[in-house]
């Protein structure tokens, strides 16, 4: 997960010649995130969100920073606080645009973090819901590599456990990798993560 964040941060900070206050702010936030200063990064994204009320990206990153931090946190109260923060930021944007596939994938990630934090309590409650959110995202954007890959990754764990065939998910991961190659983010700040994790998952698939 750390590697994943660094990749995003590195990718964004290497962009040349930022001009506007928005671009400067976003770059600085990614830089902070890359340095592991997640609280500061989240704070800066939050400030940008306060100024850029018509842009969903700053709040998306508030959600992403806090959710990825939650995955690395052990203390349950802290996890709940981080995911609460993430959910609050995401809700602000989902209210405005409930059909944005990237926001839906973000919602599924928050759910996954809850499941990982306490599988016994949240597994039953959120698993089916999460699949449903991925399905909705894929219906809106069948070519979105993150939705396709994240869904396959989510399902593969359960299938392995029950000794079910993982081939269908592996096929989806292959397809997602093709889509990653084709995917062009609208701006440099639009979500563009996931390829490296997909490649790793592909390796796992090919082991057998």
């Amino acid at each position: 997960m750390t590697k994943f964040i660094l990749t995003i941060a590195f990718f964004i900070t290497t962009l040349a010649g930022a001009q506007t206050q928005y671009e400067q702010g976003m770059q600085k936030a990614f830089a902070l995130w890359g340095e592991g200063k997640t609280t500061e990064a989240s704070a800066l994204f939050e400030r940008i969100a306060s100024a850029e009320k018509n842009n969903w990206l700053p709040n998306y990153y508030v959600a992403l920073v806090n959710t990825t931090t939650a995955f690395q946190t052990k203390d349950k109260n802290q996890i709940a606080a981080l995911l609460g923060k993430a959910q609050e930021a995401l809700n602000t944007e989902l209210d405005k645009n409930p059909e944005n596939p990237e926001l839906l994938v973000m919602q599924a990630m928050i759910n996954t973090a809850w499941i990982v934090a306490d599988p016994m309590t949240n597994g039953m409650k959120l698993s089916a819901k999460t699949i449903e959110i991925y399905d909705k995202a894929l219906k809106i954007a069948p070519e979105n590599p993150r939705a396709l890959f994240s869904k396959a990754e989510f399902e593969i764990g359960g299938a392995r456990y029950f000794g079910n065939d993982t081939k269908p998910m592996c096929a989806q991961i292959d397809k997602a990798i093709e889509l990653f190659a084709k995917f062009k983010p609208e701006t440099p700040f639009h979500p563009n993560w996931g390829l490296d994790r997909a490649l790793e998952a592909q390796k796992e698939c090919n082991k057998k």
């Binding site: 306060s50 009320k53 029950f162």
Partner: protein
């Protein structure tokens, strides 16, 4: 060109609004610095994160009155209007958020489970997987402290209270007939299938002013707001079969369950102590329809149940067995709406209707009775701030009961009553700090039938003493109309009354919960009568009284041993009451002084199986022996029941379930029935009240078919 424009624009802004420095310090309520807080001026990029000493400083081009926002995880967000030119070196205090997992929560009296519970004692799945509970919500609750296992009855007896002192509510609305049809000394079970409920709160005392007409306990069941996915559930069981289906649409969803239960095959296989003419059979169905409005949710729940059985019961007073033939039809409707209106007012409203019709043949006599019960409710709540919430509401209950008793000889008797009760309540929840909370309220109720009004205060406090430990205190007065078997013969009553005093300590640490609760309950105005049983010519009065005091302990641990979850409940109770036709105040026959339950669930990963054991132990219960001069002086031997269950996950969606209750075949005796008259030697003969069968076996296969997992399923077939 653009660059020049930007430059000019910036130059202009700087010239017009000189930059101002905003600085200060962020601390918590005790003055300790907070590092990492986010301080900014709303709508601008201008802001800073506080450093280790809580200090912040930044420049802004904004001027005049602006909104300063300070956010920090687990603290309340601060919104403050400031004058930009005049904000330097200020100290700003943040309040800890009370909406966090580690905030104090009022726990006196209540066991909660489900989505909304912050301290979940039982998980919804526990109802299904507790050995010995046989999928019955009530059965699972009987493993919690404060309850009494009354094996010949099966209902909830809480802290020295009779079963009808516990009231059941579905989505906040009363269920007047929560149990299935039964007769003397045959245990019943709850009507509701645990799969339709997402949250359960079980209160053993000191509950909120929202709930009335219950002296001892309330059981609050909440139906699922939104089902996870479309699915079909098929269950094949040794006692019958069931099928369920859930459909979802854009804004609404519908779940339907039906089941047919017939105990005949089971009764052939397992020797029965009961002489059955026709085994228990029932056909039942449940339906939940939900519709999501923009700012609210409408839920309608309908359940029906038609059950019948026919048996010959031994009676010590009769040379021949008495034939009992029961046919019961039950319908329950419940429609509720929960939503927001205006400036964040929360509205909960609904109506429930219960209809129960019994046709009972006892020997050659016939009894027919019908009960219509409704409950209308409205509740409005508002958060005045993050720390203060006020709630007010009103209830209207109607109960109409009619019974016709026809003797073989030809005489007929009719009895019945109409009891309408109006009630209103108000309550407030206050967090004084993250560690100290209170809930205070009162409930006013008026009964038409009894021509009586009551005002009942309720108060609970909770104080957190350490990171994981907290104390709660609760006090409340509770009133309830006398039960059906009295009201049908007379209305010259007052409500029965009780007061609860509860002290609770709770300790929570990841996966571990310890609870200790001490309580005292005072009963007043209990109904007494002067006949063998309550009947048309009984002389009734409200002169009864009683008390109950005791200690309940609970320990749950999901963490210490890998794959093992277990909980232990222990209750000690000292209770006496003078009611019914008792000559003096004694411990009633449904009470055992000491109760101990141990529930274990072990997950065997290699076998994809959950194996569970439940052991329930009670010391003996009192019974009255007319051969002795002292009243209620006998004591049965101790009760023990060891149950076992095995759930095997055939695949993600297929479960094979097997359970046996009373594995050891312990011959439990619940009490004795004595002859009304002595025999020729001057002795009263007796017969023991025992379990209907030594063991209960259950085998079930549960199959869920849903779109989501279809791919996997087909490949497995």
């Amino acid at each position: 060109m653009k660059t020049i424009f930007t430059f000019l624009f910036l130059a202009f802004s700087i010239a017009a609004f000189a930059q101002q420095t905003i600085s200060g310090k962020v601390t918590d309520e005790k003055g300790h610095p907070i590092a990492g807080a986010n301080i900014f001026i709303e709508g601008t990029y201008d802001g800073d994160s506080s450093d280790e000493q809580g200090n912040f400083s930044f420049q802004t081009t904004a001027a005049g009155k602006q909104n300063l926002v300070i956010t920090f995880l687990t603290y309340e967000t601060l919104n403050q209007e400031i004058a930009v030119e005049d904000f330097k070196g200020r100290t700003v205090k943040l309040k800890e958020s009370v909406n966090t997992l580690d905030a104090v929560v009022i726990t006196a009296g209540t066991f909660e489970s489900g989505d909304k519970a912050r301290v979940s004692v039982l998980k919804p799945m526990d109802i299904v997987t507790t050995a010995g509970a046989s999928g019955d919500i009530i059965g699972a609750l009987l493993t919690l402290p404060g309850t009494q296992t009354v094996g010949e009855d099966g209902r909830l007896f809480v802290r020295g209270g009779e079963a009808d002192e516990a009231q059941t509510y579905v989505d906040g609305l009363r269920v007047s007939q929560p149990y299935g049809a039964t007769t003397n000394n045959l245990p019943t079970r709850g009507r509701f299938s645990p799969f339709l409920f997402s949250g359960i709160a079980f209160s053993t005392g000191g509950y909120s002013a929202e709930y009335g007409e219950a002296l001892s306990s309330v059981l609050l069941l909440n139906t699922i707001d939104e089902p996870d996915n479309e699915k079909t559930d098929i269950s094949l069981m040794s006692v019958g079969l069931g099928i369920g289906n859930t459909q979802k649409w854009e804004k609404s969803s519908l779940s339907v369950n039906t089941s047919y239960v017939n105990l005949a095959p089971y009764q052939v296989a397992i020797p029965q102590a009961v002489d059955w003419n026709r085994a228990y059979q029932s056909i039942s169905g449940e339906m939940v329809y939900r519709y999501q409005f923009n700012s609210g949710l409408l839920k309608t729940y309908i359940a029906f149940d038609a059950a019948d059985f026919d048996l010959n019961q031994e009676n010590i007073n009769q040379p021949e067995k008495i034939r009992v033939d029961v046919r019961n039809n039950n319908l329950y409707l419940n429609s509720s709406y929960k939503g927001y209106f205006g400036s964040n007012y929360q509205l909960t409203t609904g109506i429930s209707y219960g209809y129960s019709h019994n046709k009972i043949g006892i020997g050659l006599d016939d009894v027919k009775n019908a009960e219509h019960a409704t409950h209308m409710k409205i509740k409005i709540g508002k958060n005045l701030s993050e720390r203060i919430r006020v709630t007010a509401g009103a209830d209207y209950f109607t109960t109409k009961f009619d019974e016709d008793f026809k003797e073989n000889a030809g005489n007929a008797f009719s009895s019945g009553y109409d009891n309408n009760i109006a009630a209103a309540y108000a309550e407030t929840d206050i967090f004084f700090s993250k560690n100290f909370a209170a809930k205070a309220g009162f409930r006013f109720s008026h009964s038409d039938l009894l021509q009586e009004s009551n005002l009942s205060p309720r108060l609970s406090l909770a104080y957190k003493v350490s990171k994981n430990g907290q104390f709660s205190l609760a006090y409340g007065d509770f009133v309830q109309s006398p039960r059906q078997e009295y009201l049908k013969y007379s209305s010259q009553f007052e409500s029965e009354k009780t007061a609860h005093y509860i002290l609770n300590f709770q300790y929570n640490k990841t996966g571990k919960t310890f609870r200790a609760e001490a309580y005292f309950k005072q009963y007043r105005d209990l109904v007494k009568y002067d006949t063998e049983i309550s009947q048309f010519d009984s002389q009734f009065n409200n002169n009864g009284k009683g008390f109950a005091k005791g200690i309940d302990l609970f320990w749950r641990d999901n963490n210490s041993f890998k794959n093992l979850e277990y909980w232990i409940s222990y209750s000690y109770i000292d209770t006496e009451r003078d009611y019914k036709n008792y000559p003096k105040q004694v411990t009633p026959s449904f009470v055992a002084d000491h109760s101990l339950s141990i529930v274990t669930k072990y997950w065997i990963s290699d076998l994809r199986s959950q194996v569970g054991f439940t052991n329930s132990f009670n010391t003996g219960r009192p019974y009255n022996n007319p051969n002795e001069s002292a009243f209620m002086n006998g004591k049965t031997k101790a009760y023990n029941n060891l149950s076992f269950s095995w759930a095997y996950l055939v695949s993600q969606q297929k479960i094979l379930y097997f359970s046996v209750s009373n594995v050891l075949g312990t011959d439990n005796v619940f009490g004795y029935q004595y002859a009304d008259n002595p025999n020729m030697n001057g002795e009263f003969q007796r017969q023991a009240i025992r379990q209907p069968a030594d063991r209960f076996f259950f085998v079930g296969f549960f199959w869920t078919i849903s779109e989501n997992k279809k791919e996997n399923q087909l490949k497995n077939l």
